[in-house]
């Protein structure tokens, strides 16, 4: 009865039109690659090629012969070691400050009703869209010797001498915390939003106190978001340039500033390149470690802004 029983007359039925279909698939792949290629080419030319080139440069000393002296310098010169220490100190301090400020904020946002939350969220996103330069300038104005804070405090009689708030370590930390905070709050908020409220209700129903429910259920569930925020903030801090350059008062030399000085001021490309290569390696290693540990991509931060 059935037409199914009709036996295929072709001996090679298994590969009927297989070549044509394969060619067609290849055509489609090429089409899609063509769509990608302009973007990929640009990235390749402007990021990959120069960085590869810098890496190559870093392998040669000033006389032009192959040597590891550019890298050896890191362990020999105290000024380099100091730079690394400063950089990590700043990165840890800023990340810590961001966690301390960002967690309550994200928690509050996740508690607010939708409308209020979206209004508050705008206040988080707006700084994200505002130039780093503008925000750094604002902090300079607020924190400097004759700045707002100091003149207020003096007017109020709290202090007699201006506090050193800008052009030092504290200024850098404050300024950078302000810039990094949204990078922590946005992924953290996103992950808190996905926590199932029923899960928490169940916890409280089962007799856990609010504090215990928070500690044992909510906090652990928000950890992945916190982790991705922490990693991205830390990594961005390591390579940050603008704020420390303007607010450090020449006293806080961070890694990126060192690179700039070495290349622009001393025109020592080999040494600057070596610094850059190691910075990149540390950054990628941290991100790789993060991805390996949590299986998540840190770049997700940007899609939420």
């Amino acid at each position: 009865m059935s037409m199914q029983s009709a036996i295929l007359p072709h001996a090679g039925a298994r590969t009927l039109n297989a070549d044509a279909l394969h060619a067609d698939a290849r055509r489609e792949t090429f089409g899609l690659l063509a769509l990608l290629s302009p973007g990929l080419l640009l990235v390749f030319a402007v990021i990959i090629v120069p960085i590869g080139w810098l890496f190559w440069l870093s392998l040669f000393d000033e006389t032009g012969s192959l040597s590891a002296s550019n890298y050896a310098r890191f362990f020999q010169q105290p000024s380099y070691i100091k730079t690394f220490l400063t950089t990590f100190k700043v990165a840890f301090a800023v990340t810590g400050a961001c966690v301390v400020l960002g967690y309550p904020l994200a928690y509050m946002l996740s508690q607010l009703p939708r409308r209020a939350a979206s209004i508050c969220l705008i206040l988080v996103i707006l700084p994200f869209w505002t130039s780093v330069l503008v925000r750094t300038y604002a902090w300079l104005v607020i924190l400097q010797r004759k700045g707002l804070i100091n003149s207020w405090l003096i007017d109020l009689g709290v202090i007699s001498q201006p506090l050193p708030l800008a052009n030092n370590f504290a200024g850098v930390i404050i300024g950078m915390t302000h810039i990094m905070l949204p990078f922590l709050v946005l992924p953290l908020y996103a992950s808190m939003k996905t926590i199932d409220i029923d899960c928490l209700r169940a916890g409280m129903n089962l007799g856990a106190s609010p504090a215990a429910t928070f500690r044992q259920i909510f906090f652990p569930l928000s950890l992945p978001g916190l982790a991705s925020g922490v990693v991205i903030v830390f990594v961005l801090c390591l390579g940050f340039f603008v704020t420390p350059a303007l607010m450090g008062g020449g006293k806080v030399i961070m890694w990126a500033m060192r690179i700039e000085q070495t290349t622009s001021l001393y025109s020592n490309w080999g040494a600057g390149a070596a610094l850059g290569v190691v910075l990149l390696a540390v950054t990628l290693a941290l991100l790789g470690l993060f991805q390996w540990l949590l299986g998540a991509r840190a770049t997700g931060v940007w899609s939420s802004r």
């Binding site: 489609e28 690659l33 769509l35 990608l36 973007g39 990929l40 640009l42 990235v43 030319a45 990021i47 090629v49 120069p50 960085i51 080139w53 810098l54 400020l101 960002g102 309550p104 904020l105 946002l109 996740s110 508690q111 607010l112 009703p113 206040l123 988080v124 700084p127 869209w129 505002t130 130039s131 780093v132 330069l133 503008v134 300038y137 604002a138 300079l140 104005v141 607020i142 700045g147 707002l148 003149s151 302000h178 905070l181 949204p182 409220i197 209700r201 609010p210 259920i217 390591l238 390579g239 340039f241 690179i259 290349t263 622009s264 850059g276 910075l279 990149l280 990628l284 840190a298 899609s303």
Partner: protein, 266 residues
């Protein structure tokens, strides 16, 4: 506020939380507000609140040829970056979303590399490269460098737009006789246009606010606004910068509102 989002927190704790959250929000937003107010100050001293009001810093901004030229350069570069990055990013997002390519992970990583790689490295790298091919201090060079930095944002925005779009519609359009490109133009694009516009706005603002790379590769005729501001800030704190900053803040607000409005249009 309803019991729906009653999370593990008691009433008193909630008040504390809100107070703390409000303080952090204040910390985030206060600097911009202060700068806007101070930009209308009448004195060279940085007082807050200002004792006299004036527009002299705005006059100083708009009256200065140097600031004006730098602004024009920045606008030109930002517009061109937007014009280049948006179609490139959209095309790449479409290809990524099709999902039939192998190595999508590697492609994604490459396209979003500039978000992760320290900007300073991109700065010296492009400077070094441009020095060989004579692109330093040119608009073209700036546009190319900024496009690379804006591209990942466009790609991420458009990909997320495509994810929430029903690709069956494009399929239907193709079965009804439109070729792939024409189906994209007639059916897909009108529906993801919000994402595309947001991506374009991202590209614009990314380029306009870019500092580090511009420090290296712009100069002379093509000094961007941010580079000039950076140098001015290194020297002394000129209240003119408060006026410029206010303009930049307003620009951010306008672009962000535009993005939000378009986003809502869905």
């Amino acid at each position: 506020m309803s019991m729906e989002n009653a999370l593990p927190i008691s009433h008193r704790q909630r008040l504390w939380l809100y107070a703390l959250g409000a303080l952090v929000l204040l910390f985030l937003i206060a600097p911009s507000v202060i700068i806007v107010i101070m930009s209308f100050s009448g004195s060279t001293l940085l007082q807050f609140p200002p004792e006299q009001w004036s527009l002299r810093w705005y006059e100083s901004y708009f009256g200065s040829v140097e600031w004006r030229d730098a602004t024009i350069v920045s606008v030109k570069v930002a517009v061109m970056t937007m014009i280049v990055a948006t179609p490139l990013g959209t095309a790449a997002a479409y290809a990524i979303n099709a999902g039939t390519l192998r190595l999508t992970g590697a492609i994604n990583a490459l396209l979003t590399a500039s978000l992760i790689i320290p900007v300073i490295l991109i700065g010296i790298g492009t400077f070094f490269l441009y020095a060989r091919i004579g692109l330093n201090n040119t608009l073209t060079g700036l546009v190319i460098a900024h496009t690379v930095q804006a591209l990942p944002l466009v790609v991420l925005t458009v990909v997320s737009g495509l994810r929430s779009y029903d690709m069956n519609q494009e399929k239907v359009a193709r079965s009804l006789g439109a070729n792939r490109f024409s189906a994209f133009l007639q059916v897909t694009m009108p529906q993801i246009r919000f994402s595309i516009v947001s991506g374009a706005l991202f590209a614009f603002i990314t380029s306009f606010d870019e500092v580090v790379v511009s420090l290296f590769i712009s100069g002379g005729e093509t000094t961007t606004l941010t580079r000039r501001m950076f140098n001015a800030l290194r020297d002394q704190i000129d209240p003119t910068i408060a006026a410029i900053s206010t303009c930049l803040i307003v620009l951010s607000i306008v672009l962000l509102s535009a993005a939000q409005l378009f986003g809502r249009g869905r």
